[in-house]
């Protein structure tokens, strides 16, 4: 039997600028607009709708922007950061189930990484990621949140590396998926040894 479903196709428009400033800073900014026709929605039995189903949304428009930069501020201090905004628009008759995948990612997301080389072959790293609010499969709103991670690593003669890290330094309470709390402060220790002089080459 032939399907009533039509092929899902997209026309995407991208534009961007790459710029290098001096020898130690470069950045990239891009915008995108994607027009998707006949977007497929398929699902199996769920708490929200009984029975497997498949249907299509005639048109979904995705649009967003991305910004990234990479900056070697000094020989010892490196930053990497980015920000992205992503959204979509569509219309759907009330007779259709909620297309859960379209709203799971946050509209806004930002990140900043810092790598700082300390004396005695030690490096301090930190990653801060900020997430905007998002929706759940059932349409609930999950609040935005930010997490900060920190680590300290020590390199021994290029052949051994030991590190200690703490994730979610501030103990932020959040849910990435509705119903499941994420852990508060967590920690870890790592030891890596290599027969190569440059442990990173392995």
């Amino acid at each position: 039997m032939d399907s009533f479903l039509k092929p899902e196709t997209s026309i995407s428009y991208d534009a961007g600028l790459y710029r290098r400033i001096g020898q130690n800073l470069d950045m990239r900014i891009a915008v995108n607009y994607i027009n998707t026709s006949n977007y497929y929605v398929t699902n199996t039995t769920s708490p929200y709708y009984s029975g497997s189903y498949a249907y299509q949304i005639e048109g979904v428009k995705f649009y967003g922007t991305e910004l990234e930069f990479n900056w070697k501020a000094t020989e010892k201090l490196i930053f990497f950061g980015n920000y992205s905004y992503q959204n979509n628009a569509y219309s759907l008759g009330e007779e259709f189930p909620y297309p859960m995948l379209l709203n799971l990612p946050p509209k806004n997301k930002g990140k900043l990484s810092i790598r700082y080389t300390l004396p005695f072959k030690t490096r301090l790293s930190s990653d801060v990621i900020i997430y905007g609010e998002r929706l759940s499969e059932g349409g609930y709103t999950l609040d935005g949140y930010a997490t900060a991670d920190l680590s300290l690593e020590r390199n021994f003669a290029g052949r051994m590396m030991a590190s200690f890290y703490i994730n979610n330094l501030t103990g932020t309470e959040y849910q990435q998926v509705y119903g499941y709390p994420s852990p508060g402060v967590t920690w870890g220790v790592r030891l890596k040894i290599s027969t190569a002089r440059n442990i990173f080459s392995q």
């Binding site: 196709t9 991208d14 130690n24 990239r28 497997s52 799971l104 890290y165 030891l191």
Partner: protein, 495 residues
């Protein structure tokens, strides 16, 4: 198994250390800033099996328009691509799987119920779920729309022990890739080190973290004559943060590269992952079915069950999945004068047995899915021929074919694609990338009903789509570049 390999590593250590000390070829320094970025490939395929210098010279070098950023730390930016060097990427946390890297990238969202290895998790790119962007290993796709295990990509199987770098390519500008409206994540695996000494290099890596989580990994890397080899093995266990959210798994991977005369190579790689993962169960004081345990965090009765909307699991029964995934690849690459021939043959297979104890009427019942319904198989071939015969043109033609199915529903997909792509350097500043891909898909889906109906039937698709691609890139000077791109793409529907 992994303990045995770790023991072998320990035995190898003294000889290898002594060799390396007298070797002198390794300076102990990381690659000079910019060096790695400057040798990145022009083409989007990102096939590491090609010699880098060759790949850089896609078009006559005086006309090629490529602005590759310097590399600060592990990340290099390009106009449409972000490249992460895994040999230098050290997050301030555990880096065990690809998603541990991707969550740091713009436009990518990693959605997890827990922080550990979870086959059910999802990655979204530019707002598209992972059935709508392409994940590739060395340029060949691994995204499996059969979704025989409720997943298009088993992210838990993509461990980083054998990965050299990850390319995050935005948009669907390449005619070489199918089903990439959200973009492409191309994983480049490590090759054996043939230069210098024949004594292998080895490494061992141990991480212990919260919730009694332990990750161990060992690698061996070396070469004998024209043959290079790389072997990686890892093990991970955790009690998990949530109730019943433990996991235990192993991965094994290996790659052989044999250098042929004239710069060609024969390669073979194998990657296998096995994981037992406990579903987090309901732990809700307001639920009559959760047998609430205050020692664990609360998990709601109406919690999401990410991805396919299945019912959440409850304590009292079996609630876990056993997931296995294997990738096997053979490739042949050969430069022939000003052309380059590439041929790939690959197989993927995997399985999932899933047990959940879930609501059924007024009570709870044990549910199971697996065996033949959840055993996926993929077979594919890819051919690519790049011709650099003209001063301002680099022309690529290619063909790919994949067949996919599950054991109880074979031959669900036949996906064929043929393409031609020309990179035309109009002058020293302007480059046009023009391509077209023809896709012919034959799909016979699993049985679905229409909304509001209980009658299920399989959908038969056989679309033929022409997918034109166009990108114009203008470089004002070596530091500034702009681009604009218009592309059409087709989404291979998930089952």
């Amino acid at each position: 198994m992994y303990r045995l390999i770790l023991l072998l590593f320990c035995l190898l250590c003294p000889a290898a250390w002594a060799e390396d000390a007298s070797d002198g070829s390794s300076t102990g320094d990381k690659a000079p800033p910019g060096e790695s970025a400057q040798t990145l490939e022009v083409g989007p395929q990102g096939d590491e099996s090609r010699p880098r210098e060759k790949a850089k010279l896609t078009i006559a070098p005086q006309t090629v328009v490529v602005t590759a950023g310097f590399q600060a730390g592990a990340v290099a930016l390009e106009p449409t691509k972000t490249v992460i060097d895994l040999t230098q990427f050290e997050s301030s946390g555990s880096v065990d799987r690809v998603e541990d890297v991707l969550k740091h990238m713009s436009g990518i969202d990693v959605i997890q119920t827990t922080g550990g290895a979870d086959p059910q998790q999802m990655v979204m790119m530019r707002g598209f779920d992972d059935s709508r962007f392409q994940v590739a290993i060395n340029g060949r796709p691994i995204t499996a729309p059969t979704a025989g295990a409720d997943t298009f990509v088993d992210w838990s199987s993509l461990t980083t022990g054998d990965i050299e770098r990850i390319e995050v390519i935005r948009g669907s500008a390449s005619a070489r890739y199918e089903n990439s409206v959200g973009g492409i994540i191309n994983i480049i695996t490590k090759k054996g080190r043939r230069e210098g000494s024949s004594v292998p290099r080895a490494s061992a890596d141990v991480t212990y973290s919260s919730f009694n989580s332990l990750n161990t990994r060992g690698t061996v890397n070396g070469g004998v004559g024209q043959l290079g080899y790389f072997i990686s093995f890892g093990n991970r266990t955790s009690d998990g943060f949530l109730r019943n959210n433990y996991f235990e798994g192993q991965d094994y991977s290996g790659r052989l590269d044999y250098a042929l005369p004239g710069g060609g190579s024969l390669s073979s790689s194998y990657k296998r992952n096995e994981l037992e993962h406990g579903y987090p169960v309901v732990n809700d004081p307001n639920s009559a079915f959760s047998d609430y345990n205050p020692d664990y965090p609360i998990v709601f009765e109406d919690a999401d069950s990410l991805r396919m909307g299945r019912l959440v699991s409850h304590p009292g029964g079996k609630s876990y999945k056993i997931k296995k995934a294997t990738h096997l690849d053979f490739s042949y690459d050969q430069p022939i004068k000003n052309t380059h021939l590439s041929l790939k043959v690959f197989r993927d297979w995997g399985s999932e047995d899933s047990y959940s104890y879930q609501r059924s009427g007024a009570g709870l019942a044990q549910a199971f899915s697996g065996r033949g319904d959840r055993k996926e198989k993929t077979f594919g071939v890819m051919f690519d021929y790049q011709l650099n015969l003209w001063a301002r043109h680099s022309l690529a033609i290619g063909y790919s074919h994949r067949r996919m199915g599950v054991e109880n529903t074979p031959d669900i997909y036949r996906i064929q694609g043929a393409y031609i792509e020309d990179q035309y350097a109009v002058n020293n500043k302007l480059t046009l990338n023009m391509g077209i891909r023809f896709m012919h898909v034959r799909e016979q889906s699993y049985a679905y009903s229409d909304p509001g109906s209980s009658f299920k039937y399989r959908h038969l698709f056989h679309p033929k789509e022409w997918l034109p691609k166009f990108t114009a890139t203008y470089r004002f000077n070596p530091e500034t570049e702009i681009y604009a791109s218009v592309n059409r793409d087709y989404h291979v529907p998930g089952c």
